[in-house]
Amino acid sequence: MAEVKKNEEPRIGVFVCHCGTNIAGSIDIKAVMEYAKTLPNVAIADDYQYMCSTPGQNKIVEAIEEHKLTGIVVAACSPRLHEPTFRVATREGGLNPFRFEMANIREQNSWVHMHQPEEATEKAKDSVRIAVAKASLLEDLIPKSVPVERAAMVVGAGIGGMQAALDLASAGIKTYLVEKNPTIGGKMSQLDKTFPTLDCSQCILTPKMVDVFRHENIELLTYTEVEAVEGYIGNFDVTLRKKARGVLTLEEAEARGFVGGGCNGCGDCEDVCPVIRPNPFELGMAPMKAIYIYHPQVSPLLYTIDFDSCVKCNLCVDICGDKKAIDLNAKDEFETVKVGTVILATGYDIFPIEEKFEWGYKNYDNVITSLEFERLICASGPTGGHLIRPSDGATPKKVAFVLCAGSRDNTGVGKPYCSRFCCMYSLKHAHQIIEKIPDAVPYLFYMDIRSFGKMYEEFYYRIQDEGAKFIRGRVANILEDPVTKNLHVNAEDTLLGRPIDVEVDMVVLAAAVQPAAETDATRRLFGVSCSQDGWLLEAHPKLNPCGTTTAGVYLAGVCQGPKDIPDTVAQAEGAASAASIPIHLGEVELEPYFAVCLEDKCAGCGMCINLCPYQALALVEKEGRTVMQVTEAKCKGCGTCGGFCPGGAIWMQHFATPQIIAQIDAFLLGGEQ
């Protein structure tokens, strides 16, 4: 690397990008370039159609050599997009990559001032001037490499989390799979059949659950939540709260000296437990004891005590006998594990559709949600797969399906987005009714049937052929016949152009989905942003759909936005691949933005110590003086200490005070006054 000598006069190269017409459409590129040439320290200014292309980058490489440049400025798009690209070019030209500065004249200029070319051009000149001022003061920085822990964590063990964990584990990475519920499988385990193939959800899910349970590289942590997160890519310290389960596994029993003890899932405890409460897995449609498993096929087959409802009568303890699997005095336990990367797969909840009063959910007995329908039609569900009307147990013959129930809804009660899988599962529900109940007629009230996936449109065709009735109109309201408890579904058949009142035995609301309740708390722990609707924000909507802006944290499944099982599995595999890369590399480079103590200026006051959120700073004795010292590996470069130091003794690399002041001065004092 060509060495830039200290105190050498800065020689800056400025490159202005047209970005096709994206920038050149509203900014006078030539004017900006000519202006750049007049700025102090600028040795060369040039422009190009696409600076990010190979010829564009070559311009930088060549100019560094030819003009003996000490710093590069590219005026183009957002540094959040192409800063890494141009840093590589800067390095290839022989300069330290941190001698590069970007002027954002696209996202924050040409695109937002499309109809004000003159002002936009002036703003671009200012941006270049500001960037040149900073570039003139940039220094060589050496990124720090840190080793990456050979372990990963997946939060959430639905189909997305399970797939990601299996992929990571099969790639030889120790994987912690954390699930808040007592069992894995997520929403998919509540489904009966899956569209468009109609294979049974349990049949394809259970083998994966067993794989997860048996995989030697997966440490399954059910009934566990993330409590705290520290560290950074390669070195996350995640503290887990293992909720008091009250039931010991075989291993836990052995650890307590009860060899041969622990829960073997026999269920004797459940038989004697006197407490009866609704089973959340069956959406309250079946009873459950205080000591419980959701259903016989759960993985792991391990009982759990709900201490909110347990009356501590000890009957379970007595019947469990020598297995000594039950501990009614169990407390939450905490464990901290170290992982290199993390995948969030926290899934979704059903929107509380009772808030849409017009459809009468929870007010009318025979209005149910799609998920309730799944349980009622499922052979292992509370009715053994017999679809019945909640009001009287009769078999419904006419069933209305309300699509977009709360989706595509801008009222504030409801969700503005398309929930993406309701059309398809409602088609499947229609099929299941026709298949199971002779003479049954499903009525699907829809606005658009969005059957966009592979073999989906064909599935729509098939269900139409099977006899489902499609009514293009959103359901206005539902009224209950007070005597028969039948329901009158009011809508307009918009194709007929007439109001329609369909009397049905049962209504199924394809309720919108929303991020799982814990999503927000979890994302804050990992420093991940969310979009306005609460779904977790990917690093780039098209080119980086699995990553987040926090290095080392990735997304899988519906937590990033509604998607069906195939898409969830695909994203999970993508996230697993992305999360395994740093682990396989074994080390990652951290941006060298950390704080440096200027010891001759440091008065040792220690004001900065408490400001640091990462405990990266400490006071030490050096040559008889007390001065601050930075632990570089802990410092994340936020600059909170540097923004406060009364003596100006903290040098924030790449965002140093003289550099920022130079930018301020360049804007306000430089330029045409």
């Binding site: 009063f357 009468g360 309201n477 009224l479 016949d481 007070p482």
Partner: protein, 296 residues
């Protein structure tokens, strides 16, 4: 005593004076004093005026609000049509500078200015609000419980909708007026399609009477199914449509319903011991006698 400017509207004072009389007497017993709002006019009719020019509607309604602003008291009223005009225009002008400036330009010609200094309440909501009156005070005020009768409630559209511009919450299946009815000792009954419009609004009663009373008739079918002894509402215009509408239904469709229709104030008056004469119940088109027999 809390004081309110009493906005009368048209139909209550000019067709069903019993509503006006009962409002004054019943409210006094629960701690509300109704002050005359001198020189008030029609609200004006939201259907007629709003359809022709919303700006005139804003200005005329604002004039009525300004009368109360000059008195320095909040307005209360007993009609949903009036509620739409007075409440909604008051809120709109308070929150939309452009509308307010436009209205004030007109009001300047008659030396008035809309300031936005008062609020507007339906008397029924004051009755329901525990901070003002509340169910307990209503129940305590009655001397003749209306026990043994089933009473259905018609809320009326302009009171509840658009829900975003009101503060009553659920406009699909509200229950608060039923609670007010239960406080009188009567049994509130639920019926099919409770929130169906009376059919009169938007100028439709005058524009196409047959159409309007066909909607009314649908309501009557549902009410009979539920076995209601009477229908109550908080809107004289709805009352007119249900009361006189039954005569029109008889004339045009040959169907006789005979369902008494009483404003909630009239019911409250009866429960507080007012006599049918004090309420001018003989002015009702549908005979109220059979209902009175059940409660007196």
């Amino acid at each position: 005593m809390r004081q309110y400017a009493f906005f009368l509207g048209c139909i209550a004072p000019n067709r069903y004076p019993g509503i006006e009389a009962s409002a004054i007497k019943t409210s006094e017993k629960v701690g509300i004093e109704l002050l005359p709002l001198k020189g008030a006019s029609c609200c004006p009719a939201p259907g007629a005026f709003g359809s022709i020019d919303l700006n005139i509607w804003y200005a005329m309604a604002a004039r009525n609000v300004v009368l109360a602003e000059q008195m320095g008291v909040d307005i209360t009223l007993i009609c949903n049509g009036c509620y739409k005009s007075i409440y909604e225009v008051n809120e709109k002008l308070k929150h939309n500078d452009e509308l307010r400036d436009g209205v004030n330009e007109v009001l300047k010609e008659i030396d008035m200015e809309f300031k936005g200094s008062v609020d507007v309440w339906h008397l029924a909501e004051l009755y329901y609000d525990p901070k003002i009156v509340g169910l307990k005070k209503i129940a305590d005020s009655i001397t003749r419980p209306l026990s043994g009768v089933k009473i259905a409630v018609h809320y009326g559209c302009h009171l509840m909708k658009p829900a975003k511009e009101r503060h009553f919450g659920d406009s699909e299946n509200p229950m608060w007026i039923e609670e007010l009815v239960a406080a009188l000792g009567a049994e509130p009954v639920q019926y099919r399609n409770k929130m169906l419009c009376c059919g009169a609004g938007g100028g439709v009663r005058g524009y196409d009477l047959t159409h309007a009373i066909d909607i009314t008739n649908e309501k009557m079918i549902n009410l009979q199914e539920a076995g209601a002894d009477a229908l109550t509402e908080v809107c004289p215009f709805c009352q007119l449509q249900y009361d006189r509408g039954q005569i029109e239904i008889e004339e045009k469709f040959g169907i006789t319903w005979g369902l008494p229709v009483l404003h909630y104030n009239e019911l409250l008056g009866l429960a507080q011991g007012m006599s049918p004469d004090e309420l001018a119940l003989d002015l009702h088109a549908v005979d109220v006698e059979p209902f009175l027999k059940k409660i007196l």
